[in-house]
Symmetry: C2
Subunit: 266 residues, 2 copies
């Protein structure tokens, strides 16, 4: 099997040549019973810090809740890259749509996801652990070298009270004096911003007093996403896409993944 | 109630001042039992041709499968606008994800959706009627003035055999000589294109021989969407977002919807 078609797992352990890594029950079950790997067969591992590594199964042990798998780390396939410093601050929406938003944000390379409770947020419970599970699975499948950080929910008030001066804020706004997103992203302020955050409201949009508070943040830019009313997940995803296409890692002609695949392919 | 918060329905009938429109059982049930409209109360209607109109309920009749509602059309709220001539040719994927793609494509203002069967397309059944139902609901909610056309599925071979010479083709491609999408959209060929289509493959991507056939189409451009592997729905949505942001109706400072809302709001 070509290495790029081998299973790919996120682990917390350090990764270096010769290192031994022991996987827990879930990942061991996946490798043994779903992917049907035998001792000696290879997989890929990443931990968000040390790049992507080739590893080989040494042995499987235990069963059920005690299943384990020991892996020997062999060689580095890709050096770690740094994610763009892009946050998504999003109001939770109905479960399936919020999980979809997390899935897409992970594929789109967001660094940090900050669930944010606003005046019109109907859903106020956020299971950050479950969302992290989704993000890990998507990171594994999308060949991403890291997993986004998912924080516990904050209120919009808490979030804006301590808004960092050096982080540009892009607010998805339906109406008013918002600029078309493409033009806004080309403004000198946003072109120069090393740190960015996209703020996306709940289904009912932001309340007037929330807009007023956001306007007081010096480095906030209000952007519009066309003449139709987008659902909350569509707005968040669209803003991430535009940012990556223009300022992020989409605007690069060749990627380390291409090179690696070319070099390691037969 | 402000007019912009009234129910909004897509109808097939012609719309003009003084016109009478009779709604079928489903829409009548929705207005009477879900939205609890009484005779005399207002709603909005659009048909994809005559703009958006204010109408008033005259009376409800019948019950269940025979329910009906007669509406008197009163005044035009928005003139019809022309959608950008943008197609999405997409390989069907798992039901929930394909329906999600149709939903987002509708919000993103795509003109025509062409389901497309490729070598690696696992899902070969497409229920175009069901997809049209989804598109209508999304168009109603997103304030769109039209509903995308959803064709019956074609094979990629059938589609490319008669590819129109005047329609630029944007192929979402994972690797190879594809250009970053933002740069590609700024190429003279795509900047000048009045008619465009985005082509998005199935989960397994296009087969080699399909790429070879696509390369033979003179007006095809291969675009890449960053270093991570995107799911099929993410790729399609991302390409639509980039196109609208740069060439479509997102790149306009003010919209007819804003003006209308300002004028008709109290």
């Amino acid at each position: 099997m070509e290495i790029r078609h081998t299973p790919r797992l996120f682990v917390e352990s350090a990764l270096a040549a010769g290192q031994a890594v022991t996987l827990g029950p879930e990942q061991s079950h996946y490798l043994r019973n779903v992917m049907r790997l035998a001792p000696g067969e290879v997989l890929r591992l990443f931990n968000g810090k040390d790049g992507e590594w080739k590893g080989a199964v040494v042995e499987f042990g235990g069963k059920g809740g005690k299943a384990s798998c020991s892996i020997r780390i062999e060689e580095c396939l890709r050096q770690q890259t740094t994610d763009a410093d892009l946050w998504l601050c999003a109001a939770p929406i109905k479960k399936a749509h919020f999980e979809y938003m997390i899935e897409k944000a992970t594929e789109l390379g967001v660094h940090t996801i900050q669930p944010m409770l606003t005046a019109r947020t109907q859903i106020r419970e956020v299971n950050s652990e479950r969302l992290r599970g989704i993000a890990i699975e998507v990171a594994e499948q999308s060949e991403r070298l890291s997993v986004p950080i998912i924080h516990a929910a904050l209120t919009l008030k808490e979030l804006t009270a301590k808004w960092p001066q050096d982080r540009a804020l892009i607010v998805c706004a339906e109406l008013g004096d918002a600029k078309p997103i493409h033009a806004a992203l080309l403004s000198p302020q946003l072109k120069a911003a090393k740190k960015c955050a996209i703020l996306s409201g709940p289904e009912g949009g932001f309340a007037e007093e929330e807009f007023a508070a956001l306007r007081k943040i010096g480095n906030a830019t209000f952007v519009r996403l066309g003449p139709r009313i987008l659902r909350a997940d569509t707005a968040a995803i669209s803003a991430l896409v535009c940012w990556q296409a223009l300022h992020g890692d989409w605007n690069v002609a060749e990627t380390s993944r291409d090179k690696t695949i070319d070099e390691i392919s037969p």
